[in-house]
Amino acid sequence: MTSTQIVPGERAVALLGGEANDANLRRYLHGIPGVDAVGLEQRAAGLGTRSIKTTSKAWALDRIIGLVDLTTLEGADTPGKVRSLVAKAVTPDPADPSCPRVAAVCVYGDMVPHAVQALGSAHGDPDQGKIAVAAVATAFPSGRSSRSIKLEDTADAVAAGADEIDMVIDRGAFLAGRFGQVYDEIVAVKEACRRPDGTYAHLKVILETGELNTYDNVRRASWLGILAGGDFIKTSTGKVAPAATLPVTLLMLEVVRDWHRLSGEKVGVKPAGGIRASKDAIKYLVTVAETVGEEWLTPHLFRFGASSLLNDVLLQRQKMTTGHYSGPDYVTID
């Protein structure tokens, strides 16, 4: 990862002008302008009507593949399943060597060693054409566990070679108004991402927007995640419906844009769950490009958390080269 390292806790103190406790955070987060749901959804729908054709579509399909965190998060995951997922990540389309690789594979913490091993020399920074390993941690997906377990969960995954940690925030604390607790936990997890050499695994902060319910909450949680030092803010675990939606992602991108205006720092966004069709993924690219700018369409600033999306993109990609649609047996299952 090429972006600068973020030291936990630094962002908030500068902005809040004081300690990041419940009172200060509440005052700040409740002072942010509200979100009008009708207007937000209207804007997202408007962006969804962009018509991406020919060369733009070809570019978009390749870029989507390069932004995918290919994911398996099942109780039934085995080393064999992870190896199969990795093989798909390295060679998405065996019939076409020009097909780009995905950005990362995303697995549970105990599967990280298997993913690292299976990747071998392909393991590395997606900006350099390699594939990163992301691990979900902190008692994913519910986050209902003690702080010490969450931190150990995180440290374990980092020690096993995870480059990125996808943590969940404590939605219960957030909804109860204990912003300080949510903040402290993100800071602590970030600290647990620290490697012996002083660098940090990249931290994606999952807001689980489906449980936050209102757009105002999503906006506040996005700010909280960024202030606490998240490298990415991520919509969902994929285990709660609704998962990622275009309006929620647009809203999070607006926060990221505002943070960039304020601080000059670039924070990433990862919509996850529910994005299955190329057509929908292209709408997300449009939304990114027209909200924060095209420079966000790189693996260290935007990701799709998805599994079935990849094959739909591959089918579309094949269609663009051959001129006709094939079928599900012309792309590989992982």
Binding site: P33, G39, Q42, T49, S51, A289, E294
Partner: protein, 499 residues
């Protein structure tokens, strides 16, 4: 390559089956006009689209006579339920031919296809569906049992929403049992003539709908015709005033929907990202060729710089160009004449000391174009704060308190629409109550619905279109008039719900 330079995605014109020449649509058939035919061009390319017949006084006579015959013999005698059937049929035909109508509208008017496809044409269908439903329920308009239609309606419409304005006029008139002679604007006759084909397709009795084309004198002849019972006009205040004079002293009923200089008021607690979208939608929708456009932005001084900054960033993402490209946000200015007026008023704004900012965009070589422009440092005394520019030009003023916002918003000879942006519901109601404008949008802008009455205060005209009030304008008030006067027109507050 840059992703944001989306590859061209033009809507195909193959669906259009235009004739090279169009006649006048009188008594159910197309016939030649007696005036000198004129050319309709595409404002985006200045290319010839079709040759349009020009109606002279004798053609106006023929059209009004046909409408009168149809009124006397069939339409006024037909049951409301049967009139409704015809209107439902028209609504469905509009939907069936929606792509064709959208392409024709964008070609002839210059508006982006995404607007004609997603706003204009769906609203046209919605208007016919809505008033089709009223046709057999006239007892419930509020004018007593079985109110009578007026007779022959003369309708003159503008070029900014050619087909939509036609629907606003024709749908309630026919539902109420009137017959119509409609004159579209000279530069945008095409979709009205396609609509005439739909009228034929719907097998409407001849003479119920007549469409005559031509310029100002044709309109004046129609409005002044002795056998017309009702005049409905949408357009500029100066022409509206002339029509009011012409009609004064006759028995003709009149509704006027004229200009506007709407205030879009942004309070410091507004949902800021949506307010920016609302400002953009308020003034740059349809190139600002909207009578209810939010052309005066009143922004609270404490957030002025931030709003302007965000607005400029947003405007830089607008795409100006080929109206038929599905990704175009800003289309062509409708005519050279209108472009000249926009330029002239903008230059005045600069000369008067306002600060001009224009979005960087490439202007196509041919056609009529004007890049989105913002004026800051505008005072209430500047001409660009008072006169309707009718183009993609926004004048930004500031205010300090709600009282000042209301005073400035009302300080205009117009009163068609206004917008309020705030997260505080009680403020929306308190401010809306004091704004002298026919429509007040809260946390949204430029939203239209057939069930919502639309119309102006002061120089923005009189009468209401849409809803129950819209159909009452085409019905006789039962005598004695004073006893059952129609309900006074009320302003509409449409509220964008906050989740």
């Amino acid at each position: 390559m840059s992703f944001l330079e989306y590859a061209p995605a033009p809507e195909s014109q193959a669906i259009l089956n235009l004739r090279s020449e169009y006649g006048l649509f009188i008594d159910g058939e197309f016939r030649e006009g007696h005036g000198t035919p004129f050319a309709s061009i595409s404002p985006a390319t200045e290319k010839h689209v079709a040759t349009i017949a020009h109606a002279d006084a004798s053609d106006v006579d023929a059209a009004v006579a046909a409408a009168r015959r149809a009124y006397d013999r069939t339409w006024s005698r037909m049951s409301g339920a049967n009139r409704g059937k015809y209107l439902f049929r028209i609504a469905r035909l509009v939907q069936e031919r929606s792509r064709e109508l959208a392409v024709a509208e964008s070609l002839d008017n210059g508006k982006p296809i995404k607007e004609s496809r997603d706003v204009d044409v769906p609203l046209v269908a919605a208007w016919f569906f809505y008033y089709a439903g009223w046709a057999d329920k006239l007892d419930h308009v509020g004018l007593g049992a079985a109110p009578a239609p007026l007779g022959v309606a003369a309708q003159v419409i503008p070029w900014n929403f050619p087909l939509l304005m036609l629907a606003w006029k024709i749908a309630p008139a026919l539902a109420a049992g009137n017959t119509v002679v409609l004159k579209p604007a000279e530069t945008t006759s095409l979709t009205a003539l396609l609509f005439a084909e739909i009228v034929q397709q719907a097998d409407l009795p001849p003479g119920v709908v007549n469409i005559i084309t031509g310029a100002g004198e044709t309109g004046a002849a129609l409005v002044g015709h002795g056998d017309v019972d009702k005049v409905a006009f949408t357009g500029s205040t100066s022409v509206g005033r002339a029509i009011a004079k012409q009609v004064a002293g006759t028995s003709k009923k009149l509704t006027l929907e004229l200009g506007g200089k709407a205030a879009n008021i942004v309070f410091d607690d507004a949902p800021i990202d949506q307010a920016i979208e609302g400002i953009v939608n308020g003034i740059f929708f349809n190139q600002g060729h909207v009578c209810c456009a939010g052309s005066r932005l009143l922004v609270q001084e404490s957030i002025h710089d931030e709003v302007i900054d965000r607005l400029k960033t947003r405007l830089s993402t607008l795409r100006l160009g080929d109206p038929l490209d599905k990704n175009t946000d800003i289309g062509a200015i409708n005519s050279a004449e209108q472009l000249e007026r926009i330029r002239e008023l903008s230059d005045v704004g600069e000369a008067e000391g306002a600060e001009r900012w224009t979005a960087a965009c490439t202007i196509p070589e041919n056609g009529f174009w004007y890049a989105p422009t913002i004026f800051t440092n505008v005072s209430t005394s500047h001409r660009i704060a008072r006169e309707e520019i009718f183009g993609p030009v926004l004048s930004v003023l500031t205010f300090r308190t709600p009282a000042e916002a209301i005073a400035k918003a009302n300080n205009t000879p117009y009163g068609l629409s206004a917008g309020i942006w705030t997260d505080k519901g009680s403020r929306i109601l308190a401010v809306a109550d004091k704004l002298r404008a026919g429509v007040v949008w809260a946390n949204t802008f430029n939203r239209f619905d057939p069930s919502s009455p639309f119309g102006g205060y002061k120089e923005s005209g009189y009468g209401r279109e849409g809803g129950r009030h819209g159909i009452a304008a085409y019905l006789k008030t039962a005598a004695p008039a004073a006893a059952v006067a129609p309900a006074p027109a009320r302003k509409t507050v449409s509220k964008g719900a906050t989740k």
